[in-house]
Assembly symmetry: C2
Homo-oligomer: 161 residues x 2
DNA sequence: TGAATTGGTACTCGAACGGTGCTATATATT
DNA sequence: AATATATAGCACCGTTCGAGTACCAATTCA
């Protein structure tokens, strides 16, 4: 199954939660409880999101996290990169840290490296299209606007299909 | 690192190889040698591609594989599905076989399931855009342009297609 | 018959994911 | 100042899964 790790799911849940709470500082425990995710795990994830600059932390009693960026500036690409590491579907396309594949040994040029790079770029562009704002609002819409969230103005979402 | 398994790389190399050889039947050994991939591994991969209907096999001495479909009908999506299993970035979006995530416990609606499905659909569409023909030809083109490796003039993958 | 080649499955090894625990640090409350 | 709360960072462990190996059956060519 081609899938991300569960941590990305958790990260997005946390971000959606923070978004809905506006500027309120939410503790890891609170967020974990809301989705029944093990607390220490969500802690780890929030730490990563913090290091990546997407959320800001407040230490000490009554501390916690809040978004450090506008929800419309937090893209799926940022989240996945922060949690899963560099995005690049093919190992052929690996440039950083890893060798450019030991296969293609007898080939003058790796027949996949170029297409692989193109696919990766398209994927990146796709993931950058999705913003936290957009994703969170889409669900709010489905829920029928039971309205405990800030409901930011000017949402005109670009619905693809 | 968000990446596919190496088997997808191998599968694509094999398919590109078969495409370039037109209708010739190529043994797993031959293909494996061309890219210095361990033979038994490529065997496994070709078996899967065969089961998925992308290549046709001929058993016995001088047997091997050839494409079973037109190169323009073999999409990246098909290859990845056959090798990696169902495509779907988020575990939230899992429908088949797996539970729809045990998180979101206290939420009326999983805040990610709907966006997750949308992302998966866009990803699928993206992967379906890329065909074997397109990817293989792109490389052939590059090999001609960057003059690094003088192209053997008639590489234009044998008629057949 | 014998060699070559695919079909299928079962297995081992190592790395990564999922999850836990501990200690240090910072802040609000008392 | 003392205490409770909460993040920061790291080290650790068990299970799963990917990567690769091995084996045997079935099929075809010479």
């Amino acid at each position: 199954m081609m899938t991300l790790t569960r941590k990305s799911d958790y990260a997005l849940l946390a971000l959606v939660h923070l978004y809905r709470e506006g500027n309120r500082v939410c503790s890891a425990r609170e967020i974990a409880d809301a989705y029944e995710v093990p607390v220490p795990i969500l802690m780890n994830i929030l730490k990563r999101l913090c290091r990546a600059g997407m959320v800001a932390s407040t230490r000490g009693a009554r501390g916690g996290y809040r978004l450090a960026l506008e929800a419309r500036d937090i893209t799926l690409y940022m989240v996945i990169s922060a949690i899963e590491g560099p995005v690049g579907l093919f190992q052929c396309a690996r440039r950083n840290g890893q060798v450019l594949a030991s296969n293609c040994g007898r080939q003058p040029v790796c027949p996949m490296s170029s297409p692989a790079r193109r696919v990766s770029e398209r994927l990146r562009a796709l993931l950058e299209e999705f913003t936290l704002e957009q994703m969170a609002d889409e669900v709010a819409e489905l829920r029928g606007n039971d309205g405990d969230e800030p409901e930011p103005a000017g949402v005109s979402r670009v619905s693809g299909s």
